[in-house]
């Protein structure tokens, strides 16, 4: 079936089964490979995108459930929180292999939009769904605090 999707401000028509997870539509059909496949069962967070502004695990979100709600991926992520997070990520040299970092950044930006000055506990709650096997957790935590600090300035 043909499904109309709005991703990063652009409208796309894709011919896929309605139960196809958004992840595979983004990656295989739209070529937006910044959103990563890590587990397929909403356990690792590598596929985190925003649907209508809220974080969703694209690997378990059937494309038919998205409807006309706008989708934002790492490629289209922008705004002051996104800038601050990217800057902190670069400054603290957070990523190692980088594969999970799209999802980490999507989650971190969503956290800062909700809580401009997150506590460590807020960070635990917001980021615990994003696995990093390189275990860059120490730097992710610090970078979120730094980004929050820079946003206040």
């Amino acid at each position: 079936m043909t499904i109309r999707l709005k991703v990063n401000g652009k409208v796309h028509d894709v011919d896929v089964a309605g139960d196809t997870p958004l992840l595979w539509v983004l990656r295989d059909h739209l070529g937006l490979t910044g959103t990563k496949f890590g587990c397929g069962v909403a356990q690792c967070g590598a596929c985190t995108v925003y649907v209508d502004g809220s974080p969703r695990r694209a690997c378990v979100a059937p494309v038919s459930s998205v409807g006309n709600k706008p989708v934002t991926t790492i490629e289209g992520l922008e705004g002051p929180e996104a800038d601050a997070v990217r800057e902190a990520w670069l400054s603290l040299q957070v990523p190692q292999c980088g594969y999970c970092q799209s999802g980490q950044i999507m989650s971190a930006v969503a956290l800062l939009k909700k809580r401009p000055a997150p506590t460590d506990t807020d960070i635990d709650h917001a980021m615990t769904g994003n696995i990093c096997r390189c275990a860059t957790y120490m730097r992710i935590r610090r970078a979120i605090h730094d980004a929050a600090g820079n946003l206040k300035k």
Binding site: V16, A17, K36, G38, V94, Q96, N130
Partner: protein
């Protein structure tokens, strides 16, 4: 955590300069004809090109290997002034791109903004491309420096000739050559043509840059990959796309060497998007890097392939490994270490010393199978043109990928091209290129480019697992508590079993990782190895046998300290003993020192003691701790580097464990990029703690019980310590390994801390079982 920050010249104060073993009179590189350009590498002809010999290739004798008319382009300065480096090692987060570029750019004094990386394809002309063993810098440091210095010398000489001034008055700086007297300058690009006409400089003309003048080496240069990563750019194996590409997932035999008996594909073929099924060849022992076999479902996208596989009905012939049950195997491994094994190292007379010791103690340790579970599951794309195939994938060993594809497809290696993408983590899994071969076999059948996607379930159920091991240690202490005899027995299915069917003997290559190189100052020391059969695919996992050997040896050190009534840190330092170097080969061990000569990289007890003392200071060892808290320490040399770690835990009355803090100190000799080395020290330590806390792969009837992250558990944000401090020892020793050495001491430091907090000695990992009940069974311990 200490914030990574810009630090200028951290190591400038080091007094000794690094010795360069390469001999300029027999240079490890060859200057190439500037007319040789190559697609995608150097935009234009006329560049100053050097092919750097990697290891003992023909280049070392000044000859191009036969049949490589396509040239070995390794480093070059383009006529536009940019510096290009072919990186032949795989980038998987260890920042090898950045490190290699730093080494070259430092000697050239290039402009960092004008350094470009080209990822090498898999080809023997690049020498050793096995990105494992924590040795990319170790193997390439000297030769890249020398090549860079020689190119710089040529550029300086060309400028001197142009200006008609003495070469000694010209020097390279940030991509230009300057003439000191006249303030004139020319950029590298303008000098390339003239430099190419000069003879290679003599040994006395080439001077390596002095340490105090290093601009990039030993500096916190920012990663070359991170700017792309934060935007979701960059191509991993899973991200490769080719025109007309189809997607495949494979139903693999649940047991290794199993095979399909009966297949009902009716429902699969009716699944929307599914194109066809491809039967893969049945696997014959030894498993090597060959595909496991099974049935591939090929579809228009990944999801259709996954759905098609779900609809597939396969009855499997279970094969010879269906007897494997990891629970009962644990008992047989423990039995194996309760009887004498094959002697692997001997000092003095352990039996006599044990029998006459004032006090004896013994302990048995068990470490289960582990999975790499890199965040990117394996993936490769293959595309055939006639009888030639091009593959793209996240490979740590692209030459092995080339060999394996050639072997399973029955084509000459020359017909196989392997492109290496970024790796979304490797940890040793992607050293095994079975997934490249799967892609090549399937693509040939369907006559279209095909991407083989491994799902997480595939990754966890069909890995090359970290082996399972049991160890027994026995010690004799004298009346003062000093260790006078140490017996270490170890048994594990060897990695050799992957390559030699039925191999059961421990390989010296496994024993040398933390067992045959135990640096303890005890008069009687003996290492024995038992036999064990493998029933699943066994392979390398970050730091390999060091994981279990360091766990047992460093736990037992703390157990001896306790038996002697001594402080564990003081006792560990006493075991390490006075400053000296050790050669296990003199005590019957077959010890290859991670492929590096002992004269350049000795087992130096002073360095091991130093990291131990430094980490104790950093963690304020000996401070008064709150009730329920405990500190544990462990120190281990691996991959010719030294790491010591202290863990502080808190355990409440219910047995709930918190890792309060972690401190880790590494001496990796000269480090190319302190910040990135600290990042490895942080991540590698947490990787070790994650395994120790939760890591356990089990098998029932030869089938792996864990399928995805709910049952295979890795550390998450809230389980990481809130406090972590890492430190590098300033050193002018040659560079050692960085990616793996942080992992081994983490587990014993953790369990030693748990013992200090509770009196509970954990000898079987992981600390928490797969039941997800995160409580220590304290019983009467507290």
């Amino acid at each position: 955590m200490k914030p990574p920050q810009a630090r200028a010249n951290v190591f400038v104060e080091a007094t000794k300069s690094i010795s360069v073993s390469s001999d300029i009179s027999n240079p490890p590189f060859l200057r190439l004809d500037p007319r040789l350009g190559r697609r995608g590498f150097l935009a234009g002809a006329g560049a100053l090109l050097f092919a750097v010999a990697l290891e003992d290739s023909a280049l070392a004798q000044g000859k191009l290997p036969q049949g490589n008319k396509d040239a070995l382009l390794f480093v070059g300065v383009q006529p536009n002034g940019s510096v290009v480096l072919t990186c032949h090692r795989s980038e998987m987060g260890q920042q090898t791109w950045t490190a290699m570029a730093q080494i070259l750019a430092n000697e050239l004094d290039a402009d960092w903004q004008r350094v470009q990386i080209v990822q090498a394809e898999g080809h023997p002309k690049y020498g050793n491309q096995n990105t494992d063993g924590s040795r990319s810098v170790r193997l390439n440091f000297d030769r890249l420096r020398l090549a860079g210095a020689t190119m710089r010398t040529l550029l300086e000489q060309a400028a001197a000739k142009h200006w008609k001034v003495p070469p000694s008055s010209c020097e390279a700086e940030l991509g230009f050559v300057l003439h000191r007297g006249s303030q004139r300058k020319l950029n590298f690009g303008e000098l390339v043509e003239a430099a190419n006409k000069l003879p290679l400089p003599t040994a006395s003309q080439v001077k390596l840059r002095e340490r105090k003048a290093w601009r990039y080496l030993c500096h916190d240069i920012k990663s070359l990959t991170t700017p792309s990563i934060v935007k979701g750019e960059g191509t991993f194996g899973q991200d490769v796309r080719r025109p007309g590409m189809l997607y495949a997932v494979i139903a693999r035999p649940p047991q290794v060497l199993g095979r399909p008996k009966h297949v009902d594909d009716a429902a699969t073929l009716k699944t929307p998007g599914v194109k066809q099924l491809v039967k893969l060849p049945n696997l014959e022992a030894p498993v090597g890097f060959k595909p496991l076999g099974g049935i591939a479902v090929v579809a228009k996208d990944t999801w259709s392939a996954i759905r098609g596989r779900e609809a597939l009905e396969v009855e499997w012939e279970v094969g010879p490994n269906a007897s494997y049950d990891s629970k009962s195997f644990e008992q047989s491994l423990l039995k194996a270490v309760r009887k004498p094994g094959k002697l692997a190292r001997k000092r003095g007379d352990v039996a006599r010393a044990l029998s006459s010791a004032a006090k004896r103690l013994e302990a048995e340790y068990y470490v289960p199978h582990l999975a790499h579970s890199a965040m990117e599951p394996p993936a490769a794309v293959a595309e055939w043109t006639g009888d030639r195939v091009t593959c793209w994938g996240c490979g740590q060993t692209p030459q092995k990928a080339r060999q394996t594809v050639a072997q399973v497809c029955g084509v000459p290696e020359a017909n196989v091209t392997i492109h290496v993408t970024w790796l979304g983590g490797g940890f040793g899994r992607k050293s095994k290129p079975d997934f490249f071969a799967e892609a090549a076999l399937i693509a040939r059948e369907v006559k279209a480019p095909v991407k083989v996607v491994w799902t997480r379930e595939d990754d966890l159920q069909h890995a090359y697992y970290h082996t399972v091991s049991a160890q027994r240690l026995e010690a004799g202490l004298d009346a003062t508590g000093k260790c006078v005899a140490l017996l270490h027995r170890t048994a594990f299915p060897p990695i050799t079993s992957t390559f030699v069917a039925g191999a059961t003997d421990a390989d010296p290559g496994d024993l040398r990782l933390g067992a045959s190189d135990t640096p303890f100052d005890v008069p009687n020391l003996q290492l024995e190895s038992g036999q064990a059969e493998a029933h699943i695919r066994i392979g390398w996992l970050r730091s390999v046998a060091n994981i279990y050997h360091a766990f047992a040896v460093q736990s037992f050190a703390a157990e001896m300290a306790h038996a002697a009534g001594r402080d564990p840190k003081d006792y560990l330092l006493e075991l390490i003993g006075p400053p000296r170097t050790i050669d296990p080969n003199q005590e019957g061990a077959k010890y290859d020192n991670y492929g590096s000569p002992l004269k350049d990289y000795p087992i130096d007890t002073a360095r091991l003691a130093k990291v131990t003392q430094e980490v104790a200071t950093l963690a304020k060892w000996g401070r008064k701790l709150p009730t329920g808290h405990g500190l544990g320490i462990a120190a281990h040399r691996s991959f010719v580097s030294y790491v010591a770690t202290v863990v502080e835990v808190a355990v409440d009355e219910q047995g709930r464990l918190t890792i309060v803090g972690v401190w880790s100190v590494m001496d990796a000799g000269t480090v190319v990029n302190p910040n990135h080395c600290e990042s490895q020290l942080e991540g590698g330590t947490l990787f070790g703690l994650s395994n120790a806390l939760f890591g356990e792969i089990t098998a029932t009837r030869g089938v792996i019980d864990q399928a995805n992250f709910p049952d295979w558990r890795v550390m998450r944000m809230h389980e990481a310590p809130r406090h972590m401090e890492v430190k590098l020892i300033e050193s002018s020793a040659p560079p050692g390994g960085v990616g793996e050495p942080p992992t081994p001491p983490a587990a014993p430091a953790l369990t030693n801390a748990i013992f200090a907090a509770t009196g509970l000695r954990i000898r079987r990992l992981p600390v928490f079982g797969t039941d997800r009940i995160d409580r220590l069974k304290l019983g009467t311990h507290r």
